[in-house]
């Protein structure tokens, strides 16, 4: 009996039901490990533990995608505001198992939908009764939730107010819940959980509110937390000396973890991205490299111990976090077989790192304009101006925000060359597709005073951005065997939703409502449809009754309409919405 089986049995006992054998559709650790073996399912957030978001389904292909049309839609909830937010939005990836779909809205309600028979039948909806005001006042960047995870007969989800919730897959009743993050400290949760073995992994948001970030693992049987890895080392821990101030800046050092990571079973390693340091735009406040902000972390799954790290932007002054997913790919690089970690960073560079030891393999800019550095050192991958002895990194000093240079135009802008929206990797073509924000914006530094620390739940950013330039987007393709860009499909709006790839197609959604399919080799547009709402969620695909569907959540989420709209004035006309769109042929 697996531990998950055991957990399910214990739950059945606790509920007074018979501890019978598992139902055939229970999501065992083994099924999650082999998530690709049933191509019609989408069992885990990024499709598989490698975070590739590649589906081998090919009923919809480049020859017939022009016939794709709406099969059905479903109105969801969660559009109401709370805290400083006037509305919620949709950023989730639907999970599908055996024709049943699980989606979340921005406030964390989970809805189970029977997709069989070519229509949507809502089976249940679990409303976590999220404390809107408590959470919404400290959600830096919108009322968002990125989806669920399946484990045994449970659906795991997070709520913005910091809970991990296990819901009965059949009844929709909450089985148990625990508080993982503390909004009293400015912590909230938007990330979709990741289930590996008998653990469920949570991450946290809040680096704009002076948190000390972490990744936490909860045991599905005991419902207790088994490890918590802080992304900002304490004094005395390895990396703790990369915070060189005298006033304990690392206690409020940031380092959020709000994008679901990836997992390599061969080494039992969890890969997770870490966000920006705080205060975001006042690097003078926090001299040193500020580990492990702006880094990829490789963790031992069982203990949370850090095996290695790779930092992209030491002493970041730009809000160039590295919270993005790390894609695991096995591919030859210049003819030599490699185990790669791929990460498209907010700083505008795409990186391939050896996932066995964290050493740099290749890196290249994937945006049209980078002005904060001349480029990456070909040996280390660090920005060429990086000085390991310097307290404050100047990079291109004319551009880098500092107290000496308090107003400056940075490219990429602070939303980054790519934000959280996930990339997609086609292992057959060895092409990696990046959803790009082609941007610059202006940053104004406002020095924080160590003698006047912010109160809990106060913003702690050391300045702020303004939108002075038009922002556009692209889908950019990189050949991972060479580390070279091989295509760029430009879009009039930034990519705020993420990508899906199939053997010969790439799908994306745009914040003006357009959903489109590109030829995976040429990036030529082959199909599009306007959903009439803002898209800020990634597309996914599945089969039901043997037929392929493409699904995407539509409902302007995130912070764009509050903080960045001046860079895309036409998008002021997009209204909040909350709809699931599902497409098919015929």
């Amino acid at each position: 009996m697996s531990r998950t089986t055991y957990a399910a049995a214990m739950i059945a006992l606790a509920l007074g039901g018979p501890a019978t054998a598992l139902a055939a559709d229970d999501v065992t650790p083994d099924r999650l490990l082999k998530a690709d073996s049933d191509p019609g399912d989408w069992l885990t957030h990024h499709k598989n533990y490698s975070a590739q978001r590649f589906s081998p389904l090919n009923q919809v292909n480049k020859d017939n995608v022009k016939n794709l049309h709406v099969a059905w839609t479903l109105q969801l909830g969660g559009i109401e505001g709370g805290g400083i937010w006037s509305h919620g939005g949709l950023e989730g990836t639907p999970i599908v198992e055996n024709g049943y779909m699980y989606v979340t809205d921005g406030w964390g309600s989970v809805t189970k939908i029977d997709t069989r028979g070519g229509q949507a039948k809502v089976l249940w909806s679990m409303d976590p009764k999220t404390d809107h005001d408590w959470a919404g006042a400290v959600a830096c960047c919108g009322v968002d939730n990125r989806g669920v995870a399946l484990a045994g007969a449970m659906v795991l989800s997070h709520s913005l107010d910091g809970r991990l919730i296990a819901t009965d897959k059949d009844t929709g009743k909450i089985l148990w819940q625990r508080q993982v993050a503390n909004p009293d400290k400015g912590e909230v949760i938007t990330v979709a959980p990741l289930v590996v073995k008998n653990l469920v992994i949570s991450g946290v948001s809040g680096a704009e509110y002076g948190i000390r970030g972490w990744i936490a693992a909860t045991d599905l049987t005991t419902q207790k937390e088994v490890w918590r890895t802080y992304t900002i080392p304490a004094k005395g821990e390895p990396g703790g000396d990369t915070w060189k101030d005298k006033y304990d800046a690392q206690a409020m050092g940031g380092g959020s973890t709000w994008v679901t990571g990836s997992y390599d079973p061969s080494s039992n390693t969890l890969f997770w991205g870490v966000g920006n340091p705080g205060p975001d735009w006042d690097p003078d406040y926090r001299p040193g490299d500020n580990l492990y902000t702006d880094s990829t972390l490789a963790l031992d799954l069982d203990t949370g111990k850090i095996k290695w790290h790779y930092q992209h932007t030491p002493n970041d002054a730009f809000d160039y976090d590295s919270v993005a997913e790390n894609v695991l790919a096995d591919a030859p690089v210049h003819g030599r077989p490699m185990h790669l970690v791929l990460e498209a960073d907010r700083n505008g560079f795409a990186y391939a790192v050896d996932r066995d030891n964290g050493s740099f393999i290749w890196g290249l800019p994937f945006v049209k304009k980078v002005n904060w550095t001349k480029g990456l050192d070909p040996e280390t991958g660090k920005p060429v101006e990086y000085d390991p002895k310097a307290d404050i990194q100047k990079y291109n000093a004319a551009v880098t925000p500092t107290r000496e240079n308090p107003k400056t135009l940075i490219c990429p802008g602070n939303m980054g060359g790519k934000n959280w929206p996930p990339t997609a990797y086609n292992p057959e073509l060895k092409l990696w597709y990046i959803p790009v924000i082609e941007s610059c914006n202006t940053v104004t530094v406002k020095a924080e005073d160590p003698d006047k620390k912010p109160k809990p739940r106060d913003l702690f950013t050391g300045g702020g951005p303004t939108e002075t330039e038009r922002i556009t987007g692209s889908v950019t393709a990189i050949d991972v065997t060479t580390g070279k860009e091989v295509g760029k499909h430009e879009t009039p709006y930034p990519m705020l939703g993420g990508l899906l790839t199939t053997p010969d197609l790439v799908f994306y959604g745009q914040p003006d409502g357009k959903v489109a399919a590109l030829d995976a080799k040429t990036l030529q547009e082959l199909w599009s449809f306007n959903t009439g709402g803002g898209v800020s969620a990634p597309p996914m695909t599945f089969t039901s009754d043997g037929k392929q569907y493409v699904a995407i959540l539509v409902g302007q989420g995130g912070a764009w309409d509050k903080w960045f709209i001046d860079a895309t004035p036409e998008l002021k006309a997009v209204h909040p919405s909350s709809t699931l769109y599902v497409f098919s042929l015929n």
């Binding site: 006037s86 009764k129 404390d131 408590w134 809970r163 913003l459 950013t461 709209i565």
Partner: protein, 208 residues
């Protein structure tokens, strides 16, 4: 540029930007006399100035601190109607810049992005008066936000005020706990606390 215009500009952090998403915020109907509070919520003043009026620095630069404001009732009304040119404060009167009655400026003077943003919906004159009155009587000059003020704003169905209960003095703290406890009964998760595992990367692992 007039002097008045210049001082306005100086009064706010240079990088201020939009906070205009006034909304249909779902809030219980106000009691009679609470019109100003209702407008404060429904016009999404909270989005930038926060419930407390502290406004404050941050992601988009600072919204004015209404607790520390020196503006008179009339000046606050004017600011609500006219917004702040070159800054994030919207003009809640639709024709604010039609004839020069706001700061002597018209739309033509405010080309090239100097025009204050439009809110999602404009306010009627009575609503402007009510919310200005609310700011002057309930927020201006009130010092640090308290648990009681927070609960008056939000009611007791949320943990948003807990942080003030912890900050307030002992007597208030006890009262606060009771209130929180009473509210907790309506939401089963209101008392959940974080039980974190030890730091996985601490140099001396004391677990086992």
């Amino acid at each position: 540029m007039t002097n008045g215009f210049g001082s306005l500009r100086a009064a706010v952090f240079g990088g201020v930007w939009l906070c205009i998403l006034a909304s249909g915020w779902a809030i219980a109907q106000p009691a009679p006399g609470d019109e100003g509070l209702h407008v404060y919520k429904s016009a999404n003043c909270v989005g930038c100035h926060k419930w407390s009026g502290n406004g404050g620095g941050g992601y988009g630069g600072a919204a004015a601190n209404l607790r520390e404001t020196k503006l008179s009732l009339d000046q606050i009304e004017e600011t609500i109607r006219c917004g702040r040119p070159m800054a994030g404060m919207p003009h809640f009167q639709s024709d604010a810049y039609a004839d020069g009655h706001c700061y002597g400026l018209t739309a033509a003077d405010l080309a090239d992005g100097k025009m204050p943003p439009e809110p999602d919906h404009f306010l009627r004159p009575g609503d402007v008066e009510a919310v200005a009155e609310y700011v002057v009587t309930q927020i201006k000059g009130k010092g640090e936000p308290t648990f009681a003020q927070c609960q008056a704003f939000f009611g007791s169905g949320t943990r948003v005020c807990d942080v003030y209960a912890k900050q307030n003095e002992a007597g208030q703290n006890e009262a606060g706990k009771q209130e929180v406890s009473a509210s907790g009964e309506s939401t089963p998760h209101a008392h959940l606390q974080v039980e974190a595992a030890p730091d996985a990367n601490a140099p001396h692992d004391t677990r086992k």
